[in-house]
Symmetry: C2
Subunit: 512 residues, 2 copies
C-alpha cells in the first residue's frame, strides 16, 4: 500500500488479465474443442469453482490450514472450502452425488478455470483453464482408445497439423507389474512408488541418466559439478533401477509391446496391463490412427497418483526455443488416463472412469508458435464517428446507429463490422489518436461545413497508414484509393463498405 493510503493497483503473482485479441483466439479454440467433444456425444457439465475441501480429496487432519497447493478458506460453519485445482475431482463428486440419476456410462465435458496455490513462474499461473472430457462407468479400454482418438481429432480441429503431434499411450498396470517384481508392491510402498513415478515423469527433461540417479540415491541439480539442489532418490538397488529403466526404454509401438512382455515377467497386474495395451493398439489400428497419431510409448507415466490403468499424453513434436534459446520440443498440452478409484472414494464401490484434460492456455501458446493464434484473433473492423461539435452529439449518435444497423448481417445475424461514437472529452487530434489506438479501419467526420453540404468525410485509416509509411509511391494507385474523401450522407454506408472491402483485399503491386 502506498504511503498516501491509496491502494496499489496490482494483481497477486501468478494471476493475469487477458485482453481482446487473446480472448477472441481462446473463444475460437474453445468452440472448436467443444464441437469435437459434442460430435463424439459428450455433454456439457459445469461445476462451481468452490468445493468442500474433503470432497476434492484434500484432507485436513491436525492442521490449521489445508494442504498446500490449494486455495482454502473456512465457511461460516467452520467447514473447509477450497478452490478446485482440477476438473476431475469435482466430476467425481458430481457423479457420486447424482449417481442414480445419471445415464451410465456418463460422458461429460467441462471447461473452466482451476486454481493452484503454487509458486508461479514463466508460463505457470495460479489460475488457468482446462477443458476436460471423461467417460465414467465404462469398464472397457474401448473408452480409453476412443478418448485418445478424440484427442487426436481435437488437436487437428484447433489447427495442429498431423505429424506435429503424437498421442502417447501407456498403462499404469504394466509399471505396477514392474514395481511388484522389484518388491515395491503393497500399500506400504505407496510413497516410494510415487517417487519412482515422478522420476520417470522427468525423463523428457533430465534424460535416462537423470532418471537413473533419481531412482537410486538421488540427483544434483548440476550433476557434473555435483552442485545446486540435491533431490533425494527412490533408493532402489542397481538391479531394480535397471528393470525400471528397461520398462521406460522398451521403445514404442508393437516392438515396445514385445519388449515389455520380457520386463513384466509373470506379474499378473503387469500382464493385464499389457493385454489392455494390445487391445488399445488393435482399436487404434482399426480406426486408422496407427499412422503416427497414436503410439504406445512406455516412457509416459503421468505424475499423478490416482491413475489405475491406461494413461495418455498429447505431445506437440515441433521445436521451439527454451529460455536459454536452445531448440526443444514444445511438449505436452493434454493428458489423462483411467482413474477407477476416484468415484469409489465416495461410494465405496469401484466406478470405472477415464478422461483427459487439455491445458487451454498451453495449447493456445502452441498455436501462437505455429503462427495460427493471430489469424484467429482477427477482430472485426471498427468505425469511429468523431465528435466535431459537442452540441450535435445526437446527430453523431444517429450516424453511429446507421452504421451499427448495417454492421449486422440481417439474414445470419453475424457481425460484419463494429461502430462507435467517440465518447471522451478531447479534441480532434486526440480523437484521431484514439481511433488509431483502437485499430479502427475508418473514421467518420462531420464538421459544420460538411453538415451544411449534407456530406460526411471518411478517413480510411488502413490506406492512410500505408501512405504515411511511404510503402506506396504509385501516384495513380493513391489517386484511385484516397485515404480521405467526402460523400453524401446518404452514401455513408456504401462508402464504408467500400473502405472495408479494400481493407480485406491484398495490396496489389506494393511489394515490388
Amino acid at each position: 500500500m502506498a504511503t498516501d493510503n491509496k491502494p496499489k493497483a496490482r494483481l497477486p503473482r501468478g494471476l493475469a488479465d487477458r485482453g481482446g485479441a487473446e480472448l477472441v483466439a481462446t473463444r475460437a479454440m474453445l468452440e472448436k474443442i467443444r464441437s469435437v467433444y459434442e460430435l463424439y456425444g459428450f455433454e456439457g457439465l459445469e461445476t462451481p469453482a468452490i468445493e468442500y475441501t474433503d470432497a476434492l480429496g484434500k484432507f485436513l487432519p491436525d492442521q490449521d490450514r489445508p494442504n498446500e497447493g490449494v486455495f482454502s478458506f473456512q465457511d461460516d460453519d467452520e467447514q473447509w472450502l477450497s478452490l478446485r485445482y482440477d476438473l476431475t475431482a469435482p466430476l467425481a463428486r458430481h457423479v457420486a452425488e447424482h449417481f442414480d440419476k445419471l445415464p451410465k456410462p456418463y460422458r461429460s465435458y467441462r471447461a473452466g478455470y482451476v486454481f493452484r496455490n503454487e509458486k508461479p513462474g514463466p508460463g505457470r499461473f495460479r489460475q488457468f483453464m482446462q477443458f476436460d472430457a471423461d467417460t465414467v462407468g465404462a469398464p472397457t479400454v474401448a473408452a480409453d482408445a476412443e478418448i485418445c482418438m478424440m484427442a487426436a481429432d481435437t488437436l487437428e480441429a484447433v489447427g495442429i497439423a498431423r505429424g506435429d503431434y503424437v498421442i502417447k499411450v501407456n498403462n499404469r498396470k504394466v509399471l505396477d507389474g514392474v514395481l511388484e517384481a522389484i518388491g515395491l508392491g503393497g500399500d506400504a510402498n505407496a510413497s516410494r512408488r510415487l517417487t519412482v513415478l515422478r522420476a520417470i515423469d522427468k525423463l523428457d527433461k533430465i534424460g535416462v541418466d537423470g532418471v537413473r540417479d533419481l531412482l537410486g540415491a538421488g540427483r544434483w541439480e548440476n550433476p557434473e559439478a555435483k552442485s545446486g539442489d540435491f533431490t533425494k532418490g527412490a533408493g532402489l538397488e542397481a538391479e531394480a533401477v535397471d528393470k525400471v529403466l528397461a520398462f521406460v526404454s522398451a521403445g514404442t509401438g508393437m516392438a515396445g509391446l514385445s519388449n515389455l512382455a520380457g520386463v513384466v515377467g509373470s506379474s499378473e497386474t503387469g500382464m493385464a496391463g499389457l493385454d489392455e495395451l494390445h487391445q488399445i493398439a488393435a482399436l487404434v489400428a482399426a480406426g486408422g490412427y496407427d499412422d503416427g497419431r497414436i503410439v504406445i510409448d512406455p516412457s509416459v507415466v503421468r505424475g499423478l497418483e490416482y491413475y489405475t490403468g491406461p494413461v495418455y499424453e498429447a505431445e506437440l513434436t515441433f521445436e521451439v526455443k527454451d529460455e536459454k534459446g536452445r531448440p526443444v520440443r514444445f511438449g505436452s498440452v493434454a493428458g489423462g488416463g483411467r482413474y477407477d478409484g476416484l468415484v469409489a472414494r465416495f461410494r465405496g464401490e469401484p466406478v470405472p472412469a477415464t478422461g483427459f484434460s487439455i491445458g487451454v492456455s498451453r495449447l493456445q501458446a502452441a498455436l501462437g508458435h505455429l503462427g495460427k493464434g493471430d489469424k484467429e484473433a482477427n477482430t472485426l473492423p471498427l468505425v469511429v464517428v468523431l465528435v466535431m461539435d459537442k452540441d450535435r452529439i445526437a446527430d453523431y449518435m444517429a450516424l453511429t446507429k446507421r452504421l451499427r444497423d448495417a454492421g449486422r448481417d440481417s439474414e445470419t445475424g453475424n457481425l460484419l463490422f463494429r461502430a462507435e461514437m467517440y465518447l471522451g472529452g478531447a479534441g480532434m487530434k486526440a480523437q484521431m489518436k484514439y481511433a488509431d489506438r483502437r485499430g479502427a479501419a475508418a473514421v467518420v467526420i462531420q464538421g459544420s461545413n460538411e453538415k451544411e453540404a449534407g456530406e460526411v468525410q471518411i478517413k480510411d485509416l488502413v490506406e492512410g497508414a500505408k501512405i504515411a509509411a511511404g510503402i506506396s509511391d504509385h501516384a495513380e494507385y493513391r489517386a484511385a484509393r484516397p485515404a480521405q474523401f467526402s460523400v453524401k450522407e446518404a452514401d455513408l454506408l456504401d462508402a464504408i463498405r467500400g473502405v472495408l472491402e479494400r481493407r480485406a483485399e491484398p495490396t496489389l503491386g506494393l511489394d515490388d
Copy 2:
C-alpha cells in the same frame, strides 16, 4: 463426513452444478449479448477470480478476517486475497494499473463468475455470472445514454420483446441535491445517506408506506401487527421524509422531470443532476428509444454507494408468480450507473466512468418464464451404436466413425448430429435404456445375423416413443414410418439422415 470415513459427495450451500441443456441456453444467450456489445465497439477483457482484498475496495482494519460478503484468504506472504464479488472493482484496478497504455475512453465488456459470501436462498447463489460493459474516461452523459440504449438492444437480442421491459434512468445527483436540502450533505452524513438510499431501493417490495417508515423511525417486518424483525430507520423529520418521498414519487418521463425541479429547489448538485437527466432524455428521444424502452424514473436509486451520477436499471415488466403464488413483476435483470470515483481510489485524480451489469442467471430465468429458454436449449440429435458382440468393438467403432464423419457439415464445419458407441459393460436392454436416457434420436444395431447379411438395424426412438405412447393409431402412417427397420450397411448414413429429417418434421394428422 460419514461414519465410515468416506467423504460425503455434496456441494456447499449456494453453489450448484449445471447440466447440458442449461449450458447450451446460457452459451447461446452469452453469444447474443456479446454480439451486441461488440457491435457497439466494446472489447473483451478478462480479469482473474482472485484479487488483492484492498484492490477490491475491501479493507481489513483490525480484524482477523476480512469484511463479510467476500470470500477471503491469506497468500503465503500474509497479504489478504479475495474472490471478486463483482466485475466493476477489478475493472477499476485494471484501468488504474494500465492507465497509460489504454485508449481513452476505454470501452470493455467482461463476462464471468462473481462470488458472494452471503446467505444463499431460492435463486440466490454464492457464485453467479455477470456480463458487464463499461466506458471509462467518458465525462459526458452521452456515454450513459448509449449504455441505456445498448441495454435495450441487448434485451431484445436475447429474446425479450419490446414492451416486456423498460430501462429506468435516474441521477444520483438529483437525490444528493434533495439530501443536501434536508441537511444530509457532507461526509459526516454518509452512513445516513446510505440508509436513505437503501430505503428507497426497497420501494418495489415494501411500497411508499414502508419506505416512509424506513426514512423515519424504522419499520416492523409485519407493520400492522408491529411484529417480526425491526429495521431501524434513517431518523428523518416528517418534513424531510416528505421531501424524499416527493422525489421518489415525482413520476416518470418529462412530467417527472418538471416535478423534480420543484423538489430539488436551488441545490447546485440537484440542478446539475436534473440537467444531465434532460440531456439523457434528449439523446434517448433522438435515438427513438423514448417509445417506452427508456424512461426517466426517479424511483430508481440503486443500492450501491459508489454511484456518482446517472443510474439505470433494466426491469422486466411481465408478471410471474412469487413464492406465495401472487403475481409480481419479474423485476430487475440488469443495472448500473456512473462511478467517477472508483478508478480515482488508485490514481488520486477523478476518472469518469459508467457501466452496467447483466445478471446472467436471472436473465436466463426470465427467458425460461417466457418459454424461450427451451428453444435455445435444443441439443443436437444423438445416434447411439449398440455393442451386440464384445469381440467386434472395432467394427462398432468404425460404424460410429462413419456416422461422426457425416455428423459435421463439410462446408460450414457445423455439427448436424452426434454419434457414439455404447461404452458400458451391460447387455442389450440396459443399452436401450441408456439411449433413452440420453434422449437419443436413433440407435444402430448390428448383431451377427445382420453382419452376415451386410445390414444394420436402425431403431427410430422418436417414432418408437410415439407408437409406445399410443398417440398414433393410423395403421397406414405407422406402416410408412416404421420405428425399426433394416438397411444395407452402405445405406446407413442415408437411413439415419431420413430418421433425423422425420424427427424435425411436424407430426401430421396426429392431433385429431
